[in-house]
Amino acid sequence: MEHPILEIDHLTHCFPSGGGILDISFQVFPKEFILVAGPNGCGKTTLIRHLNGLLLPSSGQILLHGKPVTSDITNARKTVGMVFQDADTQIVGDTVYDEVAFGPENLKMPRSLIQKKVTQTLEQLDLFHLKDRNPATLSGGEKRRLTIAGILVMDPEIIVLDEPFANMDYPSSLSLITTIRALHAGGRTIIMATHDLEEVITCATRMLILDRQGCLARDGRPGDLLLDLAAHGIKQPCFSRMGYGAPPWQT
C-alpha cells in the first residue's frame, strides 16, 4: 500500500474570537485530487494553512512523510505549495520572471538553475511570452496562472489552492481548470478549498466536507457525496440537481 504524503491527526485550531476547526483527521496520498468543501467560515482556509506550517495547531499534529511539519518547516513549504485566494497581494515580483524566481531565490538555488527552472515553468504554464510584463497588467486568469507558476517552480509534491475561481470570468476559469487538470495528470497531488463545486467536481478524486462547526462531516468520492451537499450548506452542482450524469465541465 502507498504511504501517505500528509497525515492530519486530530487537528484542532481555536481562534480567540471563536471559530476554527475541530478534531480533523485524514490522510493525503500521492496523485489524489481532493476538494475541501464547506460553507463560508467553516474553516477551509484555516485547515489548508496548517498543511505547510503557516498556522500551528492548538492540538493534534500534521505529519509530512511521517515527520512533523514543524521539524523542517522549509521542506514543508517546498513540498506543499500554496496558492492564496487574492493574487494581487501575493505577487511580490516586479516582472513575471522575477515573481517566478522569488521562491528559488529564497531556497538559494544557483542563478543558472533558477534561470533554467523559471524558463521551464513559464513555458509549461504558457506565460513565457509575458516574462517581462509587470504582473499588475495581467488579466485575472494570467495572474492566477502566475501564482501557480510561483510555487510550481519550487517543485512541490502537493499543490494547495484556496478558492482559485474567486473573482474570475468564464474564459479564465476554463483556462485555470485546464492548467490544474494538466498538473494533476502530470502526477501532482492537488488539494483545493472551494465552496463552489460546479467547476471542479468532475476533476476531483475525493471530497472532504466541513460543517459549520469546523468538523469533518464527510470524506468520500465526490459522486457519492453529491446528495449530501445541500444539507451542509454547499450548492449542489447543476447537473446533479437536474438528474444528469457528470459531464466534464469544459465541454
Binding site: 503557516l54 513549504r77 492564496f84 497581494t89 522569488f102 497588467t137
Partner: protein
Amino acid sequence: MADMNIFTFCPGVSALHRLDVRYKTALVCLVSLALLKAGFTGCFVCFLVLSWLVYTTRISFFLIAAQLKWFILLLGIMFITRSLTVPGTPLFSFFGLVFSQEGLRQGALVALRFFLVMITGLLFSATTRPADLKSAAQWYLHPIPFVPEKRVAIMISLFLRFLPLILTQAHQVSDAVNARCGNLNKNPVRRIRYLVLPLLKKIFLAGDSLCLAMDARCYNEDRTDPVFETGRNEMRFLAAGLCLCLAMVYPFHICVT
C-alpha cells in the same frame, strides 16, 4: 495601474537599458552633483547629451512632457519668484513688480538645473528594472556595517511593488465613500476619517496576506545574490559620464573667474 508614470520602467534594448545598474546609479549621482555647479553652457551640453539618450531609449518626448507638466509649472513659479526676489539691475516692471536682470538669469539657471535633474532621474527610472534597483541598493549597502542590506533591498522592492496597489485601494475607498454621497460632507476631519481608516485596514490586511504568501514560499534573508553583468560598455559610459561632468563644471569656473 498599468499607465506609465515617472516611476515606471519602460522595457527596451538600448545601451542605457543594458547598462549595469551600479554604474548607472553612480552616473546619475555624478551628473546630478555636476548640475548643481553647472552654468548655462554646462546645462546646454547636458541637455544635448540627455536629449540624445532619450532618443536612443525610444521614450516619447511628448510622454515626458506630459509626465512633467506639473513639475514644469512648479519650475515656472520658481523662475518668477527668483526673478522678483533677487536684487539687481531693474529690467522691467509689471503691476509694480520689478524683474531684475540678475533675478531672471538666476531663476532661469535654477529652473534649468532642476529640469535637467528631473530628466536624468526619469531616464534612470524608465531604463532600470525595479529588481535591478533593489540589487544595486543591496550592493551599495553591503560594505556598511550593521545595515541588513538584503532586508533593506526587499523592503525597497516591496515598496515599489505595492505603492501603485495602495494608490488603487485609496481610489477604491474614495469612490466607495463618494458613491454614498460622502463628498457632500464638508468636515475635513470626518472626510479624512472615512478615507484613512478603511484604507489603513485594507493596507494592513494586504500586508498580512503578503507576509503569509512570502512565508509560504520560504522567504528568508539568506537568498541567492543578484548577478551583475559588467562589460566594456560600462567603462565607456563611466568615462563619458566623467567627461560630461567636467564639461558641465569647467565652463562655470570660467564664468566665475
